[in-house]
């Protein structure tokens, strides 16, 4: 089985005024292809920091990180951007859809950025909206969608360029229990269909749906 995430001794430190904050203290983690991993732990334990490093939107202070066989811990901004576009899918707690765009256009955004032509892009976006059950809502703007629907559009957007890794940061954090349960089911379906998922969560139900749960405390993996 292919290793998708290979993190070795990741350290991330921030400077806050005179003080240095040790957000990650030598985290090592391996995630295999088609795995569904949940990272849990108390607030401030470094879960989101680790997710940011895995998503190549932040750089470790030290340590090595490979995603899908490529070293990513020292990529230039342009290469990191391209890597995120093609290999990483992001789902955020607050959905973060472009309010000015329709559901379909939101899904098309990363496809357009990747250079896909108009017709192909439209077909792919509709296919993804169909997958998340929102085909009929393609022309709706985020403000016309419920929270659960917005999160499903965000998932469709994250899957647009067939990423090697789907990262989700508290994806049920803004949803009610019923919609959260639907989201968990969608993540399970995604994983069953072959998507490798790493999710950061406080939601026990979502963590339980994962095949492996990683516990963090004080910037370290404790179990």
């Amino acid at each position: 089985m292919t290793t998708i995430v290979d993190a070795r001794a990741l350290v991330r430190e921030y400077r806050m005024g005179e003080e240095i904050v040790h957000a990650l203290r030598g985290v090592s983690l391996a995630v295999q292809e088609r795995e569904h991993v949940a990272i849990v732990g108390p607030s401030g334990c470094g879960k989101s920091t680790l997710l940011n490093l895995l998503g190549v939107i932040d750089r470790p202070t030290s340590g090595e990180l490979s995603i899908a066989g490529q070293r990513v811990d020292r990529l230039s901004d342009a290469r990191a951007t391209d890597f995120r576009l093609r290999r990483i899918g992001f789902v955020f707690q607050r959905f973060y859809l472009m309010q000015a765009l329709t559901a379909r256009e939101n899904v098309e955004l990363p496809l357009a950025e990747a250079g896909m032509g108009g017709t192909e892009r439209r077909d792919r976006a509709l296919e993804l909206l169909d997958y998340v059950g929102l085909r009929k809502r393609e022309r709706h703007r985020p403000s016309q969608l419920s929270g659960g629907e917005q999160q499903r559009v965000a998932i469709a957007r994250a899957l647009a360029n067939r990423p090697a890794l789907l990262l989700a940061d508290e994806p049920t954090g803004e949803l009610d229990a019923r919609t959260g349960a639907e989201m968990i089911a969608l993540f399970e379906r995604l994983n069953a269909d072959g998507t490798t998922i790493v999710v950061v969560t406080h939601d026990e139900e979502l963590a339980r749906a994962a095949k492996r749960v990683v516990h963090m405390r004080d910037g370290e993996i404790v179990g």
Binding site: S48, D58, T81, P110
Partner: protein, 395 residues
């Protein structure tokens, strides 16, 4: 997609965008007016000088045309000499003076121009005909109105008036044969023209063979500057100025106008620039999370920059036509005010519209629009993604 996002961002706060566009339009109007002012008077004056086709003007040594009451001696022989030159097509001598018309116990005074009606370049005939006979005169509306006369009437005129003794000298009875508009005189300035011989005779022996100014029209293809130099070398008692030389002298006298126009134009451009920069920076700050998400999902930095530059440029370009229209309206209004300035030729425009002025203003605005987006686009595209998203999540 980037264009869609840029336009959507502008539409998101319609009222704010509309106010910014209006603000920039006012700034653009002022810029256009200043560009028009910086070249308008010069071009207007140039058009005025060339309107009757005379390219050279001869005045008494050391003076500008009608700058003083000095006159050229032996003007007839000068005119004959000029007419004999193969490059010269027409020569028009002009004698300046005053006419006093006794009317019902009062005296109406007007500017008088003694001209050669066959080649004169000082007035345009509105009605009637040129004064051909020695006792004929043409006058503008201001004189006819003041005298209460019209074409066909006779009028008593004098070239001199002693206010202490209240006596007139050099009197003639003249017949009004035309209504005219003087090219180089102010709108409400009373003026009349009559054959130069008549005015000389009315002025007495001292004015015999005199002219205030001689205008020369060269044949097509003649080199004006070369002809000017040749005349300067040949004639010792006159100053010869060409249209370009006159413009140079006008340029010197109007240089403060241009400096003022450039400074005010630059100020209006800076105001527009700051307005757009502020608006777009506020807009970028409001959606910094959205921009960070775009970067997180793989949207390239330059596309973010392009989107924000597009927003600032759109504001500038949307404001341009409004500013252009507003600028033209205000220019016309200001022109009408300044046209009442005493002694200014009727045809002089301070704000002369030329396509080049509009293009210059548009070019400056477009450049300003792009530059106005530089800071906010840099700010938007250079935010650390992870930190910004964390702050957004906390906020």
């Amino acid at each position: 997609m980037i264009a869609t996002l840029a336009f959507a961002s502008l539409r998101r706060h319609r009222a704010r965008t509309a106010l910014a566009v209006l603000g920039v339009a006012v700034s653009a109007a002022m810029l256009l007016d200043m560009v028009m002012l910086s070249s308008g008077m010069r071009e207007s004056f140039r058009g005025l000088l060339l309107s009757q086709g005379f390219q050279l003007r001869l005045s008494p040594k050391g003076t500008l045309p009608f700058d003083t009451e000095a006159t050229i001696r032996a003007a007839d022989s000068l005119v004959a000499l000029l007419r004999a030159r193969p490059t010269v097509e027409a020569v028009s001598p002009v004698l300046g003076g005053q006419l006093h018309f006794p009317v019902a116990g009062a005296t109406v005074t007007s500017t008088a121009l003694g001209v050669d009606p066959a080649v004169q370049g000082d007035y345009e005939l509105v009605a009637g005909r040129n004064p051909v006979a020695p006792d004929e005169i043409v006058a503008n509306d201001a004189v006819l109105r003041a005298l209460g006369r019209s074409i066909g009437d006779t009028v008593r005129a004098a070239s001199g008036y002693d206010p202490q003794l209240r006596t007139l000298s050099g009197q003639r009875v003249l017949r009004i044969v035309g209504r005219v508009r003087f090219v180089y005189l102010a709108l409400d300035q009373r003026a009349a023209a009559l054959p130069i011989g008549t005015l000389r005779a009315m002025n007495g022996p001292g004015a015999t063979d005199r002219a205030s100014l001689v205008m020369v029209r060269l044949r097509q293809g003649a080199d004006v500057e070369r002809e000017r130099e040749a005349l300067l070398a040949q004639l010792r008692t006159v100053t010869v100025i060409s249209t370009s030389e006159a413009l140079r002298q006008v340029d010197e006298r109007l240089s403060y106008f241009r400096q003022l126009a450039v400074i005010l134009g630059a100020v209006s451009l800076v105001v527009g620039f700051l307005l757009v920069t502020t608006l777009v920076t506020v807009s970028v700050n409001e959606r910094i999370g959205e921009i960070s998400v775009m970067r997180a999902i793989g949207v390239r930095r330059w596309r973010v920059v392009a989107q924000i530059l597009l927003e600032s440029s759109v504001i500038m370009l949307a404001a341009s036509p409004i500013g252009l229209a507003l600028g033209l309206v205000t220019a016309r209004w200001l022109n009408s005010i300044l046209a009442r300035f005493p002694g200014l030729p009727e045809r002089i425009d301070f704000f002369l519209f030329q396509p080049s002025a509009a293009w210059t203003a548009l070019g400056l605005l477009a450049l300003c629009g792009v530059l106005a987006g530089v800071y906010p686009s840099w700010r938007g595209a250079s935010q650390p993604i992870a930190t910004t998203l964390r702050q957004e999540a906390v906020g």
